[in-house]
């Protein structure tokens, strides 16, 4: 059996444990990625990225929450760090309850390619839409997109 997954390794940085499991289940049920990893803080994510910099299992898609309690820097700063310090061919985006335009502008500036509103009723549908767009995000042939 050969795998047909476009996303090899998916990372979700989310401090809300309940939502992170919800996200993982939605990702599993929609066959979003070959591997799904959850981290609770931006510090953990930075360390993980530093350690897997030259690793074949380094995440190729990252969902980051903006407000991360217990982290030394927020999700937008994490996106900037991953994008400019560790990332190459990594699709990075935000998954947040916030719908603030100013934050979205910062996210785009820092290299985010998509924004998913957390309070979406049908997360599975959103992830399926995202799955369809992923190839375009990877090729950078699609503009910043908001899923809501």
């Amino acid at each position: 059996m050969k795998n047909n997954y476009i996303i090899k390794s998916l990372l979700c940085v989310e401090d809300d444990i309940f939502y992170s499991y919800l996200f993982k289940d939605a990702a599993e049920s929609t066959d979003l990625a070959l591997q799904t990893k959850i981290l609770k803080s931006s510090d953990e994510a930075e360390t993980y990225f530093r350690e897997t910099k030259d690793n074949e299992y380094r995440p190729d898609c990252i969902f980051v929450d903006v407000n991360l309690d217990g982290s030394s820097f927020n999700g937008l700063e994490l996106i900037r760090k991953i994008n400019f310090e560790y990332g190459n061919n990594v699709v990075i985006g935000v998954i947040s309850t916030s719908n603030d335009d100013h934050e979205k502008a910062i996210a785009v500036k820092n290299g985010a390619q998509f924004w998913i509103l957390k309070d979406t009723i049908d997360l599975e549908k959103v992830l399926l839409d995202f799955k369809k767009d992923f190839q375009f995000f990877l090729n950078r042939t699609i503009n910043f997109k908001v899923y809501q």
């Binding site: 050969k2 309940f18 939502y19 919800l22 289940d25 599993e28 049920s29 070959l34 997360l123």
Partner: protein
């Protein structure tokens, strides 16, 4: 990643007898050697997805309920704040009403006292006026008697009877006058004391 035949037979047996399948991301990394393995791995992924889907549905339901509870809690907190504010307003209103009632009670007491004073003042005034009139009457009588006495004296009439009568009346009137003046002073001092 591949699994050997012995392990696969055991896994297959486990799935048939107890419906236990491999699950998690590991299943997606397995590579099959034959159709039977391929079918088994597909089944494993299917079961894994189904379980995730069911778990997701339950979690989502719980999340929605949690959001609703949070919203309700927020509404309840607002209501508590509003009720507390209303309660404080009512308490202040009650205090104001109580203060007004106390003032009204005091005013009523003051009016009652004033009315009593006015009543007694009026009584004293009437008494004083009556005594004044009596005193004026006495003075008029005295003047009349003195006039009669002097007319008898200048006309050269018998003075013995007249003078006896005049002195008796005058002495009586003098006593009466002193009594009236004393009564007037008494009334005045009582009036002052009362005020």
């Amino acid at each position: 990643m591949k699994i050997n035949d012995t392990l696969f037979i055991e896994l297959l047996e486990l799935s048939k007898t107890k419906e236990i399948y491999l699950s998690g991301d590991i299943v997606k990394h397995l590579v099959s050697d034959n159709d039977e393995q391929d079918q088994y791995f597909k089944k494993c992924i299917e079961v894994h997805k189904k379980t995730a889907k069911e778990r997701f549905a339950v979690s989502q339901k719980a999340l929605i309920q949690n959001d609703q509870l949070k919203k309700q809690q927020s509404v309840n907190q607002k209501l508590v704040v509003e009720l507390t504010a209303r309660n404080q307003e009512l308490h202040l209103e009650k205090e104001k009403t109580s203060n007004i009632l106390t003032l009204v009670k005091k005013d009523k007491e003051n009016v009652e006292v004033k009315l009593k004073l006015m009543e007694s003042e009026k009584k004293f005034d009437i008494m004083a006026k009556a005594l004044n009139w009596i005193l004026i009457l006495v003075a008029v009588i005295i003047i009349g008697i003195i006039t009669i006495y002097l007319s008898h004296l200048f006309l050269g009439k018998d003075m013995e009877v007249v003078s006896n009568q005049v002195f008796t009346i005058l002495s009586n009137l003098m006593i009466a006058s002193i009594s009236i003046v004393s009564a007037l002073f008494g009334v005045k001092s009582l009036q002052e004391k009362h005020n």
